[in-house]
Symmetry: C2
Subunit: 686 residues, 2 copies
Amino acid sequence: MASSAIETDGQEILDLEKNRQAEKAQWVLNAPEPPSLWRELMDSARETVLPHGKRFPYLKDKDGLFKTVISVLQAMFPIFSWCRHYNATKLRNDLLAGLTLASLCIPQSIGYATLAKLDPQYGLYTSVIPPLIYAVMGTSRDIAIGPVAVVSLLMSSMVPKLEDPEANPIAYRNLVLTTTFFAGIFQAAFGLFRLGFLVDFLSHAAIVGFVSGAAIVIGLQQMKGLLGIAHFTNKTDVISVLQAIWRSVHHYWNPHNFILGCSFLSFIILTRFVGKRNRKLFWLPATAPLISVVLSTLLVYLTRADKHGVMIIKHIKKGLNPGSIHELQFNNPHIGEVAKTGLIVAVIAITVGIKQFKSILHEKYTKSTLLTFILYILLLCQMQEATAVGRSFASIKGYSINGNQEMVAFGFMNILGSFTSCYVATGSFSRSAVNFSAGCETGMSNIVMAITVIISLELFTRLLYFTPIAVLSAIILSALPGLVDPHEAYYIWKVDKLDFLVCIGAFFGVLFASVEIGLLAAVIISFVKIIIISIRPGTEELGRLPGTDIFCDVNQYPMAVKNSKALVIRVKSGLLCFANANFVKEKIMKWATEEEENDSKGKRTVQVVILDMSNLMNIDMSGIASLLELQNNLASGGMELAITNPKWQVIHKLRLANFATKMGGRVFLTVGEAVDACLGAKMAAV
Amino acid sequence: MASSAIETDGQEILDLEKNRQAEKAQWVLNAPEPPSLWRELMDSARETVLPHGKRFPYLKDKDGLFKTVISVLQAMFPIFSWCRHYNATKLRNDLLAGLTLASLCIPQSIGYATLAKLDPQYGLYTSVIPPLIYAVMGTSRDIAIGPVAVVSLLMSSMVPKLEDPEANPIAYRNLVLTTTFFAGIFQAAFGLFRLGFLVDFLSHAAIVGFVSGAAIVIGLQQMKGLLGIAHFTNKTDVISVLQAIWRSVHHYWNPHNFILGCSFLSFIILTRFVGKRNRKLFWLPATAPLISVVLSTLLVYLTRADKHGVMIIKHIKKGLNPGSIHELQFNNPHIGEVAKTGLIVAVIAITVGIKQFKSILHEKYTKSTLLTFILYILLLCQMQEATAVGRSFASIKGYSINGNQEMVAFGFMNILGSFTSCYVATGSFSRSAVNFSAGCETGMSNIVMAITVIISLELFTRLLYFTPIAVLSAIILSALPGLVDPHEAYYIWKVDKLDFLVCIGAFFGVLFASVEIGLLAAVIISFVKIIIISIRPGTEELGRLPGTDIFCDVNQYPMAVKNSKALVIRVKSGLLCFANANFVKEKIMKWATEEEENDSKGKRTVQVVILDMSNLMNIDMSGIASLLELQNNLASGGMELAITNPKWQVIHKLRLANFATKMGGRVFLTVGEAVDACLGAKMAAV
């Protein structure tokens, strides 16, 4: 009697358990309909353009018109925020930082202008207007704005295809200015319409490879100045450049240039070592380029070395930026090409300016622990509006870098730059680091720098007449090692082999073809990688983890135990689609039948194949057709197919295709339930 | 005392539970290293090329040399298998089917040859050699081999770009034969090296769209014959063709052709209805084209209608296929283009031949229940070797279609075809259906058909002199409705909107541009779709299903309950990479901080963010960097980040990047454990 009561109890529990399982299976089958494609598209578009619902959250404060205007102005021109709390101490620090910055900026600007195949003064112009505008509109205080090496290389490798800088320098310059205008427009548009994610399409690995390759190309370009070569190639790939150098060295070779360049290069590198040893002497490496320029100019002037073949800058036009709004070429037949170049330059300038800068900050402050914390907060807020989030962290962070506002600032500085004879400016890697080390407090250091450059333009251009080009080359060369990053490349290799492929694709593309091909290679490899990972037809067998009801990959968790009668399989990709469905089907069939084969050796008999769908984000028509075939194939072999944990989109499509009914209800929430239910049913049938 | 004992017990159980959880977390963290990229590549290459380990499984039977040779021959030439059991009954059925097939094949072949811009006899040639070779080497018994409409259209739209068929018909024909040769080489290579998966890259939706578009284009091309237009356009897009028709109709219009064509078209369609009503009259629709040809030829001959503007075939060259091996043009300057065309034709021919055929089988037998079962078995075995699997199902299936052997057979029939004046042949949709309805038993029906065509070529070509072209057009037109499949298109629309986009992309591409652009559009949309689905930066919040420890999407399972202190989030894509990592990070931050915002209204305070990684197949450098930023951002907001159930590749990379240690051990196997552990720790801290 008692035992029968227990049995009844057991039966009841079993029934209860069964009912619960059935209920859970119903949950899976009767999920509400997922949002339609159209609604999803609209939602994601809205989220992209309006990440926090409102453009100007200050408006809700209802503090009257005046305060509202002030708030809007503060959001658009962050200078209004920080200048209210500006004081003498900050000014002193900014003055020091700005002057240090200017001493590095002036020789670099001249060098980068020659790299971009423009007259030297255009580099100086670019160090005037963009930093001033950035100081007003930008949100970062450490970034130093001006011409940079990678963007200058980009200009000198893409624009000369449209106009020869030697044959027609004015037309070339006008195209460069037009490109700058377009770059500015694109950057401002990215910021205003929150399209910053487009910049994400250049992955970290691609940037590392691209910048390293560009640095080497830039270095090789400097051989022109360092060796005093008059006629150089217009191409940027390593082979053409090396050929040009080889040819020149054989025909014409002036050791004076080389000796001068190398000695000052050694000097700059030496000061850098000294600066690293003694943190107090941080100004020494920063001012070394200016000291080199002054010393070498004096040297050439005194020895009249220019008569002996040392190449010098000669004339630099005196005076402030001339207006250039009428020089923009909108009727040019190459306008499409120019706009394309503008887009590429815009993306690279943002990437180099914001992203690289982010990474140096990151590097620097893993060392100085106090600042780490503050700077992570900056990064945290980079992509967020000055709303609730911004406010709730305001007490810790002091200020926030706003990604979209940054892009708007970059855009405006380049648009207005293109009206005032500037080419594309962005955040410089080497100068931002100097700015930070010099202890800048606000954007004022950029203003100080710009004013210093203005004074130089007005007063000192004639003094630069005898500056040897070899020393400019040495200055550019000395800035390059910071761009090549073998450690990061090794780290990428260690963690992700395919990402490393992207990295070296960009690197060799830039090195042996052109900057465009390098970028294209990186983007294509990145997307091919996504496709390969998404459609690779891998499957894994799952086993039960001892003591749990959890099923895991038996390779990842060697302690997992396979079921002797149920083959539990999970697809190793997020998509079951035309490109992998057939393969997966085949593989599962092979697995099921091979396992069965081993039966004769007394191993196992598969009665149920359970397909865990928890990985699958989506499925297409071919995927559904394959599942159908799989089920029929298994059925004809006397096996059953069950599916578990299909995601929203998947179960929705399976329902639409009537697959769920064709499965005969063998749809479960968890693998454990599927195993119990299917094997239980089989047992009962026997 | 007692209560303290209970407490101690409770404490012990708690400790035990904690130990178990710690052990499980260790399982996650100490997973063995996943196979390297190189090993994975090698494994998948080996699996692709050698899906079942051995090429000829028969070899292991150790039955002596003779039996081995027989087995190998049987594997390569399935005819040896079935002809051993051949008998008179089967022959009678095959004879009937073959003759029915021939009566449909002869008019269709002539029509398709004119569609391909070749002389009529080339269509007949193509119905001789390829079916004979297929009968020897192919594994399917229902398929009817010969020229088909879609491939003929492909030829006439791609090859004329290289050589004008009107100006230089012989050079054009030679290029068509060379294309056929290349198509055969590619098909045989696909089969021998098991590259059939390349054909999968044309998804089901793409084929439906492409074939429907092609059918409409073919139909419009037939207006030439139906209206008796002498000068037609070489282009295939709808607009050019409609313009050509419009122009011709205005200038020259012969109602005799049109009336003749339309009356016989009506006749053929009528017989089809009769055939559908009365299954015994299946031969009526199959022979209607031949009847039409005979009647119309007689009519034209008797009335001498050709004198009144009715266009007739005129001369068809008598006699068997001439050799054409010397006509292949390997020194042609367009050889690269020809090879490319060959590749496209090869893929389309396989797709149309095998895949479409698969789908009619599927359609047909959902109606006749008995055969359904058998035919699913065929499909089951389509991609499998005649090994274990094949053998274990041998008793049910009777025979198996072997995908790779099929492709080899297709390849050889086209290679040998190109040596004997045939252009590309494949399985015909309409004729295969007729062959099946007529009750064919083996590949013998193809042989019977080929012999009938040979006899016709030898004896009856002169009788076709007066056959009106309008009737040929009517016959082609009558075969088209089977190719356009609005039901399938609607089904695709219903189940998968993006797949429908692929479908209409192919459809409109073929219709308004060209067949190549249609195919290209389909392939590109398909892959863009994969990329979009893989990188779309969706996230979903998880809640606990009542009465379980399972966490599910709160939208899919509305009964799931959110935790008030833990925000459980899962990424809705299989990859966390450069293209979506930033977005996902931002979204999670927004979520976490917005949830916190609602605190003032008394809703919830997020203390822990748990990121369920069970979806993620892989992660890249940018993804890892984003996770790191996310953790630091959350930490500065006083929240904790925990991750659960990372997959093999993901945990491996996180370990390499030292992220696992930076997480401070907050890596768990299940969401439930993570919630308990994190909130428990928080409680203890309070």
